[in-house]
C-alpha cells in the first residue's frame, strides 16, 4: 500500500482523543509524489507517495536498508530523486539546493563541528542566513535555554556527553526555524534511560514549537511513543501509513503485522461466511472464528493474526474458567517455555498440532501463586473480536 488508506479497519479505535493537539491543515505541508531513487541497480525508494501535514510528528519506520534514510536525504536535498516530485507548501523543491531549502536535518551522529564551540555551532546556520549579531545572540540564548544547555556555551563538542551533543545538534537544526525538521535516528546513540526521557522532551518541544518533525527510526517503540502518524517502509515502499494504534491493531498486511510487535499467525482458508463472522480452517489451529473485517476479503487463502497479549490462558483441569471453557476459539497444548519480562510473562505453548502459540500475560500481582510452569497442559483461548484476517 503506498498511501494512507481511508478504508482501514478502525473498530474500537479512538483516534480523536489521542491526537487532538495535532493541527489539521487542509493542504499538506509536504507532498511526496511518486518519488523513486536508484543506486546502481538497487531501487532504494520505489514510487513512494506521502502527504505530511503541518505540525505533524511523523515517523518513518522500517528495517535497515528499507530506504527510509534515503527518503530523508532526498527531502534534505543530499540526494536527487530519479523520478517524482516533492512539494513543500505547494511549490516543487526539487531544483532547490540543500543550503537553500527551508528544511533542516539532525544527523544520526550529530555531525557537530569539532573546531567550533557549542555557541558557534548553534550560531553557524544563523550567520549564514545573514542575521544581525544581536539577533543571533538572542536566538542562540533562546535555543540554549530550550535544550537546557545553559553554561555549556563555550565548550567544544568533545567536552560534551552523548546526551549533551544530541541537544546541541537539536538546537543547531532548530535555530533556523525550519518549516520541516528531519531527524535521522535522533536517539540511536543514547542509552535506554536517556532515550526515554529524550523522547518525552522531543515530543514536548515539537508540541511547543508547533513545528513539523519527520523522524527516521528502526525502533518501533520509539516511533510509537513519539509520532502521531507512522509510515512503515519496506523495500523502498510504504507498506502502511497509520496512527500507532492502527498500525498495531489493524495492520494492513501480514508483513506489517509481523514487523510491528509480536504476533501469532495461522494460515488457512475461509470456509464459511455468515452472521458477520468468518470461519477459517487453519492447519495449525483448527477452525478459528473471526469477526468479519471491514475491508472485503477477496481471497480465500488468508492468515489469522492474533497478538500474544490477546491470547488468554487457563490451566486445564483447574477450576472451570467460565470464559475459557466457553470461548469459541480454544487451542489445547503444553507450556514449553516461560519468559518472565517483569511487567509481563510470555508463555510458549506447543499445540497438539505442533505449532507454537505465544501468550503474554500481564503480571498484575506481585505474588502469582497461580502461574503456569513449563510442562503444564493449558488451554489458550481468544475472542473472535481480537483476531485479524490478513490476505496472504
Amino acid at each position: 500500500m503506498t498511501e494512507e488508506s481511508p478504508d482501514i479497519d478502525t473498530r474500537n479505535i479512538d483516534v480523536s482523543a489521542q491526537h487532538a493537539d495535532v493541527a489539521v491543515a487542509d493542504a499538506p505541508l509536504l507532498r511526496i509524489e511518486a518519488v523513486s531513487k536508484k543506486f546502481g541497480s538497487f531501487l532504494a525508494v520505489d514510487r513512494l507517495s506521502l502527504d505530511i501535514k503541518a505540525g505533524e510528528f511523523f515517523a518513518l519506520l522500517g528495517p535497515s536498508g528499507c530506504g527510509k534514510t534515503t527518503l530523508l536525504r532526498i527531502l534534505a536535498g543530499f540526494e536527487t530523486p530519479d523520478e517524482g516530485r516533492i512539494l513543500l507548501g505547494g511549490s516543487d523543491i526539487a531544483p532547490v539546493l540543500p543550503h537553500e531549502r527551508p528544511v533542516n536535518m539532525m544527523f544520526q551522529n550529530y555531525a557537530l563541528f569539532p573546531h567550533l564551540s557549542v555557541r558557534e555551532n548553534i550560531a553557524f546556520g544563523l550567520k549564514r542566513a545573514g542575521m544581525a549579531r544581536a539577533a543571533i545572540d538572542t536566538r542562540v540564548a533562546e535555543m540554549v535555554a530550550l535544550v537546557k544547555l545553559e553554561g555549556m556555551e563555550k565548550r567544544k563538542p568533545d567536552q560534551l556527553s552523548g546526551g549533551q551533543k544530541q541537544r546541541v545538534a537539536l538546537a543547531r537544526s532548530l535555530a533556523r526555524r525550519p518549516r520541516v525538521l528531519l531527524l535521522d535516528e535522533p536517539l540511536a546513540a543514547l542509552d535506554k534511560k536517556l532515550r526515554e526521557s529524550t523522547q518525552q522532551e522531543l515530543m514536548e518541544l515539537q508540541r511547543r514549537l508547533g513545528m513539523t518533525f519527520i523522524v527516521v527510526t528502526h525502533d518501533q517503540e520509539e516511533a510509537m511513543t513519539m509520532a502521531s502518524r507512522i509510515g512503515v517502509m519496506n523495500a523502498g515502499r510504504l507498506e502502511q501509513v497509520a496512527t500507532p494504534r492502527d498500525l498495531y491493531e489493524a495492520p494492513a498486511s501480514r508483513w506489517v503485522a509481523e514487523f510491528v510487535g509480536d504476533v501469532n499467525l495461522f494460515d488457512g482458508d475461509v470456509t464459511s461466511h455468515e452472521h458477520f463472522r468468518l470461519v477459517v480452517a487453519t492447519r495449525d489451529g483448527g477452525n478459528i472464528v473471526v469477526v468479519e473485517p471491514r475491508q472485503v476479503v477477496t481471497k480465500s487463502q488468508v492468515s489469522v493474526a492474533i497478538r500474544p497479549e490477546k491470547v488468554k490462558m487457563s490451566r486445564r483441569g483447574s477450576t472451570p474458567d467460565a470464559a475459557g471453557s466457553q470461548a469459541i476459539n480454544r487451542l489445547e497444548g503444553v507450556v514449553t517455555d516461560v519468559s518472565y519480562l517483569g511487567g509481563s510473562t510470555v508463555y510458549k505453548i506447543q499445540l497438539d498440532t505442533g505449532a507454537v502459540v505465544r501468550s503474554s500475560v500481564a503480571n498484575t500481582t506481585r505474588l502469582d501463586t497461580d502461574a503456569c510452569s513449563a510442562g503444564q497442559r493449558v488451554v489458550a483461548w481468544f475472542s473472535p473480536d481480537d483476531c485479524l484476517v490478513l490476505e496472504r
Binding site: M105, A111, R128
Partner: protein, 271 residues
C-alpha cells in the same frame, strides 16, 4: 591522566639500544667531529667552533645554502597547494572515470627511482630549451614532493566525517563555503605537516637536483657532494650538523602538527 608504567624487559632494552645505535651512531660521530679543532677529519684535536665560523665566511657555501632554502620553501609551497587540491579531488570528488588510474599515477613518484625522475625532467627541460637554474630545480622538487603532501592530506580527509560538510550545507553553506568554513580548518594541521615534509624532502635531495640544476645555482647538497669528492673538509661536518638540526626541528613540528590534526579537540580536559 594516569601514565601507564610499563617495565621493559632486558631483551627489549638491548634491541632498542642496538637499533638506535645503528641508525644514529654515524650521525653522532659527524656531529662530534664538527666541533673538532683539528684540520684532519679523522684526528681529534679538541673542541672548537672553528669550522662553523669557516662556513659563515665561505661565500660559495652560503650561496648554496640560501639557494637550497629558497628552492625548498618555494617548491614546498607549490607542492602543498597542488597536493592539497589533488587530495580534495580524490577524497571528495565524484567517482569519475579513471579515478583509480589517476590516484595511482599521482603516487608514482613515491616509488619511482629518483634517477629516472631526474633524467626525464632533464630531458623535458632540454626539449623545452629552458635555462637550468632556480626554477627548474624548484619545479622538479615540486613534482617530487607533491605526492607526499597528497598522501598526508588525503588520509586526514578520509578520516573526516562527510556528514560534517553535509551539515554545513544543510545550515546554509554552498559547497565552497562548507569547504572553507568546516573542512579546511579541520585539515589545516595536515596541510602544514605536508608542507614541512615537502620542505625537508627538497632540502636533502641531491639526485634530482643534480640533473636539473645549472651552473651557478647549485643547492647545498650538491655543493657538499662536489666538495667531498675533493676530500672531506671538517667544514662539511659543521654544515651537515646544521642541516640535521634544521630538518630535525621541522620534522618535530610536522609530527606535532599531524598529531594535533588527528586529535582535534580530544585532548581537552575531561568534563
Amino acid at each position: 591522566m594516569v601514565r601507564q608504567v610499563n617495565r621493559m624487559s632486558p631483551f627489549n632494552v638491548t634491541s632498542l639500544v642496538l637499533g638506535l645505535a645503528f641508525l644514529y651512531l654515524p650521525i653522532v660521530i659527524l656531529v662530534i667531529y664538527s666541533f673538532n679543532a683539528s684540520r684532519l677529519v679523522t684526528v681529534w684535536g679538541g673542541w672548537s667552533l672553528r669550522w662553523y665560523f669557516e662556513f659563515f665566511n665561505d661565500r660559495a657555501m652560503l650561496d648554496a645554502a640560501w639557494m637550497s632554502l629558497r628552492v625548498a620553501a618555494v617548491s614546498a609551497t607549490i607542492a602543498t597547494l597542488l597536493g592539497t587540491l589533488a587530495a580534495v579531488g580524490l577524497a571528495r570528488g565524484e567517482r569519475f572515470r579513471g579515478r583509480a588510474l589517476f590516484s595511482g599515477m599521482l603516487y608514482a613518484p613515491l616509488v619511482m627511482p629518483e634517477v629516472i625522475s631526474g633524467l626525464s625532467l632533464l630531458l623535458l627541460f632540454v626539449a623545452l630549451n629552458a635555462e637550468r637554474g632556480f626554477w627548474t630545480v624548484t619545479i622538479a622538487h615540486t613534482t617530487l614532493t607533491m605526492c607526499f603532501v597528497t598522501v598526508v592530506v588525503q588520509s586526514r580527509l578520509a578520516s573526516l566525517d562527510r556528514s560534517l560538510e553535509e551539515a554545513a550545507m544543510d545550515l546554509g553553506c554552498n559547497p565552497v563555503q562548507a569547504f572553507i568554513r568546516v573542512t579546511l580548518p579541520l585539515i589545516v594541521p595536515a596541510i602544514a605537516a605536508g608542507w614541512m615534509l615537502a620542505f625537508t624532502l627538497s632540502l636533502d635531495d641531491v639526485v634530482i637536483a643534480s640533473f636539473t640544476t645549472g651552473p651557478g645555482s647549485a643547492t647545498l647538497p650538491i655543493r657538499i657532494y662536489s666538495e667531498v669528492r675533493l676530500g672531506v673538509k671538517p667544514e662539511i661536518n659543521a654544515i651537515c650538523t646544521m642541516v640535521i638540526a634544521l630538518i630535525a626541528v621541522v620534522i618535530v613540528i610536522a609530527s606535532l602538527a599531524s598529531k594535533l590534526s588527528s586529535t582535534q579537540g580530544k585532548s581537552a580536559a575531561p568534563l
